[in-house]
Symmetry: C2
Subunit: 329 residues, 2 copies
DNA sequence: TTTATTTGTGGTATCGATTCCACTTTCGGT
DNA sequence: ACCGAAAGTGGAATCGATACCACAAATAAA
């Protein structure tokens, strides 16, 4: 591997001059610059980032912690993050917790030892240990998807969007709205959305029925199971519609409903959250909440870059959303 | 930031001893080890990877070059890669070319300047410049998805699987099989699969008809367009089935067929490639080729690790596949 | 007891860059 | 013709680790 010393020797200058030339700071004569560039061209020299960042304390690398990469939401978010980072000459160091919460903390430490300039965490919980790890981090950390007090977080408008969708269903004439939620370990999805569902019903003086409400685990199969449970446990008084907190579970729910030879949305309407590709092409196409994941990722990345540049606002940013009205409601 | 020198000072030893202790090589007394560990615990010290890798020439980072991360195939492959790498203490440095071929070469250089220990490239072409860049790389490069002569490549059994699927269709009684392919810039998908289609027809003495064959651009919409073209250009003698080289385009094709009020597979059967989630839940569920992307990613990662360990076989590995027989054929 | 060998430790060079400082040369202004 | 500033360059310290080497102390073998 050729180093800056080789370049200096071949171009007959000192390595200080080469460095100055490459970083465009300080004075370098046209003559010297030309010779240096030629030698670099010939040798195909590339400066060692390890050496550079040892000296400058900057790596140009951002750590990203994901619950699961092979998920449409995650990969979309990463895509948005990447767009912004790449435009700013940063690269992504990827880690995947496989949904293990302890790994989130582990990776925050690992990434720091790898000298990343900042960390983006797709949040799945608000555990005290996690908050502490974030608080103690030596580099900026921005969280997407959960509101974390000690740092900047970009959150989805879970409450607002859920409420909006429920009201849309009410307007459409559905008054017996069921709900398939997620575990409370995930505050944003598990708690906030359910709370918004309940509150919106209350606001419109619609009674809440326990047997219409179930909690799934994000898997498509779980949507199927929970829908089945709702229907079986409420034979006397069935819901006329159901709001599901993820598209995937909604797909499972639809599968069950179809198997029972019921019509969507005539016999039972289904609304969901996520705007997955699948939601668009399933039969019937799903009315769902689009959280614009790429955009959210981009925003998060921009927040991190701002934080790195010292504009540490430690703010909470609520992202936008839109309702995709299709054929399931 | 606390460094190894701080630890040495606080534990009353030299930094050599701290290093030996941390890397478990050379002799360290129980007494010294205990003191060092205590100090490390107290300070939360983490060794700087920049310094470490400047010295050792190893970063523990693998560069991954993707055509597009927000794609089910890519994210699945990355998931498989990550499983293997994480188990071996490696991290992924992610880059995304947004399908620009020049960026592949750019990233090969960029990743090297970032001192990655190896590179995995999800191949989209076999251009001479790319092959040259791979050949000149200073670190092992393993390519997935295209056969590149100068290095180890893991390839999907495009020909075999396509042929298998066409024969399955023939057995089912479809003799007028159309084809929606991809551009020839992608040799594996664009050339190999089409060649296998033609050869399999020939083998069974079935004539090939130009107006039943179209080339799309991977997008769902393009599948729709190309299916439309086939149907409109062959009004006199329509195909009774079509093989599509990606699931997404098949989804588009199905959409068009449904719009024409034709039945699948009764009026026209559709077979595809990719085993996407979508293919499973669309109506009718797609008969498709599953290339087991996670597994392919894992295999590729393992090949790279082998290459890093000096077992540079420079071999071609053909991955497995399976046919998923569902309801569209 | 003497001689090897094992165990334990610190000193120092090194990896490949950046950056500050000192020094020389060139040049414009008076 | 002189002086001060700008332009151009190299030397040396530094970043935070590793690893080789020399050496001392403890232990084992003769």
């Amino acid at each position: 591997m050729t180093t800056i010393n080789d370049i200096a020797r071949l171009a007959n200058v000192s390595r200080s001059t080469v460095s100055r030339c490459l970083n465009d700071n300080g004075y370098v004569s046209e003559d010297a610059r030309k010779r240096i560039m030629e030698v670099i061209e010939e040798t195909g020299y590339m400066p060692s980032q390890s050496a550079k960042s040892l000296r400058t304390k900057k790596t140009g690398v951002i750590g990203v912690i994901l619950p699961k990469i092979s998920t449409e939401t995650a990969s979309r978010v990463v895509s948005g993050i990447n767009d912004v980072l790449q435009a700013n000459q940063y690269q992504i160091l990827l880690t995947d917790t496989s949904l293990q919460k302890t790994k989130e903390i582990e990776f925050i430490r690992l990434l720091q030892s790898r000298n990343v300039d900042g960390i983006i965490l797709l949040g799945t919980n608000k555990d005290q240990e996690l908050i502490q790890a974030i608080d103690q981090a030596q580099v900026p950390v921005v969280v997407l998807g959960q509101e974390i007090p000690v740092t900047t977080s970009v959150v989805y408008p879970d409450a607002q969007a859920t409420s909006h969708m429920i009201e849309f269903m009410l307007e459409k004439g559905y008054k017996k709205i069921g709900f398939i939620g997620a575990p409370e370990t995930d505050p944003a999805v598990g708690i906030t959305r359910k709370k918004a569902y309940k509150e919106t019903l209350a606001k419109h003086a619609i009674s809440y029925r326990d047997e219409w409400v179930q909690t799934g685990d994000f898997a498509i199969e779980s949507g199927y199971e929970k829908m089945k449970q709702i229907m079986e446990e409420s034979k006397d008084q069935r819901p006329d519609s159901v709001f599901v907190v993820t598209d995937n579970m909604a797909v499972g729910a639809i599968q069950y409903i179809k198997e029972q030879n019921m019509q969507i949305p005539k016999d039972i309407a289904v609304a969901a959250t996520g705007a997955s590709t699948l939601s668009q092409y399933i039969e019937p196409s799903l009315t769902t909440i689009d959280f614009l994941n790429e955009e959210a990722g981009a925003t998060t990345a921009q927040c991190l870059l701002d934080a790195i540049d010292g504009k540490k606002a430690r703010k909470k940013m609520e992202h936008t959303y839109r309702l995709l009205i299709r054929n399931s409601v």
